[in-house]
Amino acid sequence: MSATDMTHDAAVELSGLRVAFGKTQVVDGVDLRLDRGQALALIGESGSGKSVTLRSILRLFPAGRSRIEGRISAAGKDVLALDKRALADFRGGDVSMIFQEPLLAFDPVYTVGRQITESIQRHEKISAQDARARALALFERVRIPSPERRLDNYPHEMSGGMRQRAMIALALACRPQVLLADEPTTALDATVQIQVLLLLRELQRDLGLSIVIVTHDLGAAVEVADRIAVMYAGKIVEVGTARQVVRDPHHPYTIGLLRSRAEGAMDKGSRLQTIPGSPPDLANRPPGCPFAPRCFLAEDRCRREMPPVGTISPGHDVACWRTEEASAAYRAGPQPVAVEMA
């Protein structure tokens, strides 16, 4: 199976995905495709709709208060067409999820081992002993020290890194094809973050997993992902291979994210660049490009019309009227940027 073969069946495919809570259009027309065995990172700042996009793959929203439109297919299933029973089988069985804060994502009054065997026994006809044996093997697989003893720990008795490993073990318990990770390293220490990312990468390769990882940390995205999609105000503004997006960005927002990183190319005495302003109010979306009010390249057209998605090179798509200028500005290096606030 070739990863570049775009006609091959996808692990996850979203088309025209729109999610609204009441009047707030949180996800506004997302098209996204993840090939089997690949890892995709969704990046963007808080409120960009990346976590909602991720959760929509499992339909993890209360039924009455949300509206999902478009098409979602994951692990070969049409997610929006699943009935209640099939959805429950699909969750954790075909597609599973790891959460940002593992301390909160485990039930505090059950042992971690019990929560893993509970999941296995929910999805498969299996004896308690066999389920426990599988949980033990999973703990070994994610390299939790003294796994036998740790299975009987309560979540609060573990360290943060160990809890996230246990969370990963739980997510893998029923051998899913797709793993969704919602900011899996944000709550962890810097040294533990990289271990967890490397573990995810290793599991993806060894088990042939497809991973969608949501993060606001570009470094983490580059570490695990084959492809990166940048989200802003509920839309994907740039998507490409990790290399294309990080080395050759064509959207001013991506450029802003790259420049506002503290690590790497900071000269002594230079100021950290930031993106001025804040994300738009999603309940009152202005016409045109949602990033225009904060963009250093914005012109009249940007404020009037939403730019269409254009292809820069195969697999590298950007939604911007001024990709050429943006790319040129990035290659010219950091410079004082003039910003008109709307």
Partner: protein, 317 residues
Amino acid sequence: MLLYILKRLVTVTPVAFGVSVVCFLLVHLAPGDPLSAVLPADATQQTIDEMRSAYGFDKPLPVQYAIWLWHVLHGDLGVSIATGRPVAQEVGRAVVNSLILASVATLIGFTFGTFFGFVAGYKRNSLLDRAASALSVFGVSVPHYWLGMVLVIVFSATLGWLPPTGAGPDGSGNWRPDIEHLRYIILPTVTMAVIPMGIIARTVRALVADILGQDFVEALRAKGMSEFGVFKHVVRNAAPTALAIMGLQLGYLLGGSILIETVFAWPGTGFLLNAAIFQRDLPLLQGSILVLAMFFVALNLIVDVMQTALDPRIERA
């Protein structure tokens, strides 16, 4: 766990000691001579003095306390001035009656309280939630002796379905779980259950709402758990707090049911206390207060131990 229980028992001892001091002193603070109630008005000074020394009231307070405590530790609560019967026997019988009343009332209150609490917590802001909340506010705020009288008027006086007062056909005592006796227990327990029901319903509603908002519930759904599977987790998380509230309510009902026991003439501790106060029966008063206070201390201990057993986050050390 056993070590934890032992440790808790040790820490309870000074509390129990303090309670005994307060019990003893409290009745001495009250005005009125305990003997004036039993002695005839024209008793000679000599008779009064003899009685005083017979009951030990002529000795200084600390000595009286030491003697009293010594007897109490040997299971002797003294003799009732009014009836001449041993206090331990009087209190013992009353405690059994009150315990029956309080347990049944707590059970009713807990059953309905948790039911309404869960319904309200799951269907927040729905019509059901508002109805359950209104009912629990009513339960907490209605004066229960008044409710008792209303129930008596409706079910005994008007409809004639249930007996208005007493603990059984033979008036009092020797309660047995047969149909005849059960008919007597319905009105007082229902009246009594209204308060714990309201408090438990409100607590459970808040608990359930809080638990359903936690991340782990979303994580449970994300791993494919059914609604019933999620519900089991919610129950397990709500149980320690709900049981603690239930235990404390049982304690309150054991000692705090003076009004209800008086309205229904139920021969329990509240009824006994009421009588002891009006007759200035000092040994009986001290004895019953002490027993009730010890019940409360013991209940708190049991609740603590139960919570520790149910919630792994509470340190066992």
